[in-house]
């Protein structure tokens, strides 16, 4: 996939599928798709900002780390791409982000509370802390068949 190509969006009756090059140029168009969608779903602006930032952090991690310096992705999937599947069920927004890059030991990575990190003026570890703080559920799995999957969930609050 051309790193400068536009992202590919497909809709089914219940899901939105996004395929984008695993490249920094994809971050902004992915943010636009996500914010448009969550506004349509009816999330208030403060929640839109949180979801936008969490998804951006997740996709930036794929670009920087999964497909980063070593370019160590599986040879069966030589075309580095980010795939997002978005749907709602049981009053939850579910955003699934897949890549075939280097796996990450997500469960073991505990950068701690973001406010404590900021107060201590530490320079890193904010991306995952932001995802954990801004979303209701964050789950990461990795296997040979499907690659790496990050699942971000936000509950739809009734007003």
């Amino acid at each position: 996939m051309d790193p400068n190509a536009a992202i590919d969006i497909k809709k089914s009756t219940s899901r939105l599928f996004v395929r984008a090059p695993g490249h920094g140029s994809s971050l902004r168009p992915i943010r636009v798709v996500i914010t448009d969608l969550v506004r349509q779903i009816g999330f208030p602006e403060d929640e839109v900002a949180k979801i936008e930032m969490a998804v951006d952090e997740a996709c930036a991690n794929v670009v920087e780390h999964a497909y980063g310096a070593t370019r160590n992705w599986s040879w069966e999937h030589p075309d580095p791409e980010i795939r997002l599947t978005i749907h709602t069920d049981n009053n939850r927004l579910v955003i699934q982000i897949n890549d075939n890059g280097k796996r990450f030991d997500f469960a073991a990575y505990r950068p701690g509370n973001i406010l404590e990190r900021i107060r201590a003026m530490r320079s890193g570890g904010y991306g995952i802390a932001i995802m954990r703080q801004f979303m209701d559920e964050v789950e990461y799995t990795s296997d040979e068949m499907t690659g790496n999957t990050l699942r971000l969930v936000k509950h739809l609050k009734k007003t």
């Binding site: 900002a49 936008e52 973001i114 406010l115 900021i118 003026m121 320079s123």
Partner: protein, 118 residues
């Protein structure tokens, strides 16, 4: 994309940003701020009035800049944060670390006053 322009405001300088501050554009801002620190301006005001999005990579640049400013005893202030950007700073707990003003002239005046009182 991020456009960066400067406006001298002796003894300080305003750095005006336009666009999105994400993982792709943050290194560009980091380099610019490093250059401005080396140029030994008494203080730096960052105008975020035309910045629609700030990712954690952008927050890291501001945090690093705040550390350098503190070490070098230089003034640093942010101004004209759009509501969604202000919210990101608040959600990340970063507002207490910065002087944040509505307009660049207010930010420069506050930094001059602070410097005179020191």
């Amino acid at each position: 994309m991020l456009e960066i322009t400067h406006k001298p405001e002796s003894p300080g300088i305003t750095i005006i940003l336009k666009g999105h501050l994400d993982a792709v554009t943050a290194p560009q801002l980091e380099k610019q701020l490093d250059d401005l620190f080396r140029a030994e301006h008494a203080h730096i005001v960052v105008d975020l009035g035309c910045v629609a999005f700030v990712a954690s990579a952008g927050l890291r640049v501001f945090l690093a800049c705040a550390k350098k400013a503190r070490r070098a005893q230089r003034g640093l202030a942010l101004c004209r944060l759009q509501p969604q950007v202000q919210q990101v700073f608040e959600l990340a707990g970063m507002t207490p670390l910065f002087l944040i003003h509505l307009a660049p002239e207010n930010a420069h005046a506050a930094l001059r006053q602070r410097s005179a009182a020191a």
